[in-house]
């Protein structure tokens, strides 16, 4: 098999990972919170796409038009009701709160939808087309990737050109300074969390046609999303985009050339390596907690 095959599918999958990573990175940047419920928010996106398809007969890609605003609102409310109350707490409390919220989401899903995995089969779920050189590209993967690109571009323009986007970036750079400049940082936090949630749910919806849909499906994506953020530099949107692609490619490569069983291990080892190499210089600079 050609070396290009895993590279290409890695890049395509990585695009969706990037989407999840960007959502987490944005939340981290603006709020300085590690969101451990991110994977479960992805899982909710998967179920939303599934039920939009089975109940309302809406194509999963089309259903994003419904999913994105719903998820944004959901995330916005989560922030208003829960997250903002721990924004000045120690990190570990923030982590535990989001873990708790994640457990509530995944186990409510378990009660509501049972633990049987669901499969979303569209007419084109297994279609692929062939490129010269014995390379085949799965159609849903390609579609997901293209939609991801569109969404990332819109997000980029939003952050760069609109006043809300600029306020978000200012808050991300320096929360205190932004507050002094008159930016409503509390509102920015809620918006960031809303966008983060919308991106997670979108990523979930985009992979729904190619994955098992399951209440605990988000967990394996959680650490992947963290890896992506750390790889790109926590808080950096562009970095998370690149990080996502890298993780996608590393996974595809290690599945092809090593073994599928070890691909997650390799991702985590990469994660630790990045943490250590990138952050070495930070040690000792910041305050204890």
């Amino acid at each position: 098999m050609s070396f290009l095959q895993p590279l290409l599918s890695g890049i395509l999958t990585g695009g969706v990972y990037a989407l999840a990573g960007i959502g987490m990175s944005l939340v981290f940047g603006v709020m300085n919170i590690s969101n451990f419920a991110h994977g479960d928010l992805m899982m909710l996106g998967m179920y939303m796409a599934y039920f939009a398809f089975t109940l309302l007969h809406i194509d999963p890609y089309l259903s994003l038009v419904l999913i994105i605003p719903t998820a944004f609102f959901f995330g916005f409310m989560l922030e208003k009701l829960f997250i903002n109350r721990v924004i000045h707490h120690p990190h570990q409390n923030q982590i535990l709160l989001t873990i708790g919220l994640g457990l509530i989401m995944s186990n409510t899903a378990l009660l509501a939808f049972t633990s049987d995995p669901k499969i979303l089969t569209t007419t084109y779920s297994s279609s692929a087309f062939n490129l010269p050189g014995d390379i085949s590209i799965s159609l849903p993967l390609l579609l997901s990737f293209l939609i991801t690109c569109v969404i990332i571009s819109i997000l980029y323009l939003f952050l760069a050109k609109t006043s809300t986007g600029m306020a978000l970036r200012a808050t991300s750079q320096n929360r205190e300074a932004a507050q002094l400049m008159g930016i409503n940082v509390a509102k920015m936090s809620a918006i960031a969390f809303g966008i983060g949630t919308a991106l997670a749910a979108t990523a979930g919806a985009l992979i729904a046609p190619t994955y098992y849909i399951h209440p605990l499906a988000g967990h394996s994506f959680l650490l992947k999303a963290f890896t992506i953020c750390v790889l790109g530099g926590l808080g950096s949107v562009v970095g998370a985009g690149v990080g996502g692609i890298i993780i996608g490619v590393v996974e595809a490569m290690s599945s092809t050339y090593l073994s599928t069983d070890w691909k997650d291990v390799i991702v985590f080892v990469l994660f630790l390596a990045v943490l250590l190499l990138r952050l070495e210089g930070l040690f000792g600079k910041k305050g204890g907690r």
């Binding site: 570990q92 708790g100 378990l110 633990s115 963290f226 750390v230 930070l282 040690f283 907690r289």
Partner: protein, 332 residues
């Protein structure tokens, strides 16, 4: 003085409890779980509560003890389990040293994330290796130890009680010692601690080693007690989180907090898991067994205990971040 009397009373009650309960294996089983979670959470508390280093990966040490013990006993079934427990401590300590050398360079968010990553690497490796039984896990058929009747649960009750007592004794001793003060100083402010002559990585690693060794002993005991382990039972992230949650609810960084947390949480989980609540509702005539709600309760309440854990976590962080004992201390 009052304190000593109270501790003696608690110890005497704990020792005598199985005599009153007689041969009810169900109740003894729950008590063993309470003792184990109390001890696990107390061991975690040395690192998380006193040194302020929230490890989200303590399942790795529990799993190290359980797997080491059961693998050794499957290979050599005449081996004295105590030797397996000791080897388990060595394995857990090695993992701890490796973890420590990586994660203690990091602070804040990164420390928590890295501790999870290390534990996940351990879990996935165990899942992928042959000698660990992979996804099937390990089943142990027969063990013997000094002629004790290991088919009775009582030896394990006392085993867990002993480890809990040792853990609490170590914690109580540490609190009043140089190491204990140093750990608390590290928790409060790492820069201030370093400027006062505290070697941060040495003391963090010391706390981690003590904590990991105790956790591994509990893993070994659990393996001997249940005699069947797989990664989802002993290496899962959820176990690490339950350990932390128990400490949080009781009171992080207090001697008795983890014990209080375990006494509250474990029976609650058991009630939900074994559907006692559903049965009680049916018995009380509140819901009919054959109604939709009745069937739903029967089939799903077992899952609900994790949901309840989630709700308790959220409420606890929002309203009771210092735990039940923290509340009591504030009132003083």
């Amino acid at each position: 003085m009052k304190h000593i009397a109270l501790v003696t009373l608690i110890a005497a009650t704990a020792i005598a409890l199985p005599l009153f309960i007689g041969e009810n294996p169900y109740i003894i089983g729950i008590l063993i779980s309470v003792l184990m979670m109390a001890a696990l959470s107390s061991a975690w508390n040395i690192l998380g509560g006193y040194a302020g280093q929230y490890s989200f990966g303590h399942a790795a040490y529990f799993g190290a003890g359980a797997y080491t013990t059961l693998i050794m006993l499957t290979l050599f079934n005449t081996l004295n389990p105590v030797i397996c427990i000791l080897v388990g401590i060595v394995v857990a300590s090695l993992i701890a040293l490796m973890t420590g050398s990586i994660v203690f360079r990091l602070r804040g968010h990164y420390f928590g994330l890295a501790s999870i990553a290390v534990a996940e690497i351990v879990r996935l490796s165990v899942l992928n290796f042959e000698c660990t039984g992979g996804a099937q896990g390990i089943l142990l058929t027969d063990i013997s130890l000094w002629g004790l009747d290991l088919n009775s649960k009582n030896p394990f009750y006392y085993g867990m009680l002993l480890v809990l007592a040792v853990t609490l004794a170590i914690t109580a001793y540490l609190r009043r010692s140089k190491t204990g003060y140093y750990l608390q100083a590290i928790r409060e402010d790492q820069d201030a601690a370093a400027s006062l002559g505290i070697n941060l990585s040495f003391y963090k690693n010391k706390a981690l080693l003590i904590s990991a060794a105790l956790t591994s002993v509990l893993g070994s005991l659990y393996g001997l007690y249940i005699r069947f382990i797989d990664t989802s039972a002993v290496l899962d992230l959820r176990l690490s989180i339950e350990i932390i949650l128990t400490a949080i609810i009781g009171g992080v960084g207090t001697l008795w907090g983890p014990v209080v947390g375990a006494i509250l949480l474990v029976p609650l989980a058991e009630i939900l898991r074994s559907n006692l609540l559903g049965e009680a509702l049916v018995k009380a005539g509140l819901v009919s067994e054959t109604s939709g709600i009745g069937i739903f309760l029967k089939e799903n309440l077992a899952h609900a205990h994790v949901l309840v854990y989630g709700i308790i976590t959220v409420l606890c962080i929002l309203y009771l971040p210092k735990g039940i004992l923290g509340l009591y201390r504030r009132k003083q």
